[in-house]
């Protein structure tokens, strides 16, 4: 049972990690938390559901469709909910947080109108492929989920540290005005960030559908809250922190059920987070305190 639960935990943790990566990317650059990220993720799941179950198209098309739709949503989010507030002098830093909350409520209700409130079956032959190692049954989906999350993490950190665009992004994150003066098109950089983060949310949505076979219009909320907890725990803006935090939360939730009491699943996982934050307030991979950064 231990190995099976380990696989369950890693699968859940990998999905948490991808959701958290989207949060951490936006936070790292914009210093705001995008509360609509969970709902964009949910839309990614529904778009791929429509493509796979209703249109009968293969899985890669579903990924592509989810990425295109969520990236477009990210673009609209940035254009209409974030940029107008950023350019307005005197707008509070919290204003954009509130506007993303507004977007998330809007998206949840739109999803309710379009898709209804119940659970929808996410059927794909790919999700049925499994193989046995010794006494344990492993689904190919579970391996793919782990690989995709590792790939996204490595790719993202390489992109940020090695490429010109990544450098520009970090410069924008460091100081918006200075970066602008030095010739970085900061609006473009910010748009790119939000779009990429949203597309990653879309990918996570497809993976949830494949892993759990069911989606509903509430998954954005529950997954979104977990993602938020993870970036605080892993270190705000840290790519590795999101990955490690996601895996730790996923594993601890699973093992609380396996060896403890399932009624305390969320409670124990979050108590663990609080304890770690008491010891390391900046989070697992967090950088030095805020005043050194600004």
């Amino acid at each position: 049972m231990f190995l099976e639960q380990l696989i369950n935990g890693i699968t859940l943790g990998s999905i948490y990690a991808i959701v958290a990566l989207g949060y951490t990317l936006v936070f790292g650059v914009l210093d705001i938390i995008n509360m609509a990220h969970g709902e964009i993720f949910m839309f990614g799941a529904f778009v791929s559901l429509l493509i796979v179950s209703k249109a009968g198209a293969p899985l890669p098309v579903a990924f592509l469709g989810a990425i295109v739709v969520t990236a477009a949503m990210g673009l609209l989010l940035e254009r209409f909910a974030l940029r107008p507030l950023r350019t307005r002098p005197g707008a509070s830093h919290l204003a954009s947080l509130i506007s993303t909350i507004g977007v998330s409520i809007l998206l949840e209700n739109v999803a309710h109108k379009i898709f209804g409130s119940g659970n929808h079956l996410f059927e794909t032959p790919f999700a049925e492929i499994s193989f046995t190692i010794g006494p344990v049954t492993v689904y190919l989906v579970q391996v793919v989920i782990l690989l995709i999350s590792l790939f996204l993490m490595v790719g993202l950190s390489l992109w940020l540290s090695r490429t010109r665009a990544g450098k520009a992004l970090r410069a924008t994150a460091e100081n918006l005005e200075t970066a602008g003066l030095l010739g970085v098109d900061t609006n473009r950089m910010i748009t790119a960030t939000v779009v990429i983060a949203s597309a990653m949310g879309g990918v996570a949505g497809v993976l949830v559908g494949m892993a759990f076979n069911y989606i509903n219009n509430q998954i954005g909320l529950s997954m979104g809250l977990k993602g938020l907890a993870i970036i605080i725990f892993g270190g705000m803006g840290s790519v590795y922190g999101a990955m490690a935090g996601g895996l730790i939360l996923g594993l601890s939730e699973t093992f609380v059920v396996a060896y403890g009491s399932s009624g305390y699943r969320d409670a124990i996982a979050f108590v663990a987070i609080i304890v770690i934050l008491l010891i390391r307030p900046q989070g697992l991979f967090g950088q030095a305190p805020a005043e050194a950064r600004r």
Binding site: L12, G118, S222, A258, S262
Partner: protein, 374 residues
Amino acid sequence: MKRTVRLFAVVACALFAFMFMGAEKAKGEPIRAKIGVISIITGQGAAYGEAITNGIKLARDEVNAKGEVFVDLKIEDSSGKQEQALAAVQKLINSEKVVAIIGPTLSNEMMAAGPEANASGVPIMGTSTTAKGITQIGKFVFRNSLPESQAIPAAVGQAVKKYNIKKVALLYGNDDAFTKSGFDTMKEVSEKLKLNIVTIQEFQKGQADYKAQLTKITSLKPDAVFCSALYNEGGVILAQARKMGLKVPFVGGNGFNSPKVIEIAKEAAEGLIVATPWFGEKSDPQVKAFVAKYEKAYGKKPDQFAAQAYDAFYIMTNALKAAGTADRAKLRDSLAATKNFQGVLGKFSFDAERDVVMTPNVLIVKDGKFTIFN
């Protein structure tokens, strides 16, 4: 003064007309009775009230046509509110002078209306009130709605007998009062039947991933899983369990008792066992006739609420016949003596506490739909 005279004249005319009508019908001499109905006609929950009043009206038309009893219905709206249910019961008893009352719809409405009827000595019968302690209000309070605490033991009992179940795993939603109370009943029954409970697992509403709980249950190899969940979560649980290779029978509470479970879980729903007082697909001719008549009159299939109300009206008028007169106290006594009434819900009796004695239908999902389990 003039108005009083006119009013007197109208009343006198009405009285004459009434006497004349009475004389006309004197050959069959039907027992005339005014029965009050309290239901939710407006506001949230009006769908229940609609089904209930439809069921009662259908039964009244049938009974009145037979000519043994002639019932005049007085329907009052409670809007699902306690104070309105209380006002309605007072109006029916004091102004309308009804001989008995059917309703109200909700258990907490009955908690307000029941004591009033009981104190006035008017028999009152709930058709959809399933909470604990309803008929304990007093000796004039009845109900014909089967509480979940009776439905679950029936399903569990039959499943245990058929599959020779010894070890069970319990799984329930711990953040919902309904699924929690269903779980309490399941646990109680398991202990009474001396089943070995290998694990108790909990989950929360809206959860997407039940694999951790299900992996643990699978590893303990139970003979069956008793699962108290609403259909939305229940369907997903079934699907994930079957995919994982957990093929043992699942016994569910009333929350599972919905065609939606099959819609969500598809073939994974096969083997799910539930108990319900009303099963419209029964091959019983009485049930078939009721479903056909109801569908013709209202354009849809009768649900549990309509069926319970329909039977309640028959129980009431049968008791009237037995009493021989529309007298509140005599009606109460003959109601309480109801034994083996054969209605669309099945064979029905009142116990010493005027509560339900009946065998619910135990159903199993087979070939994509609910069928009788045996």
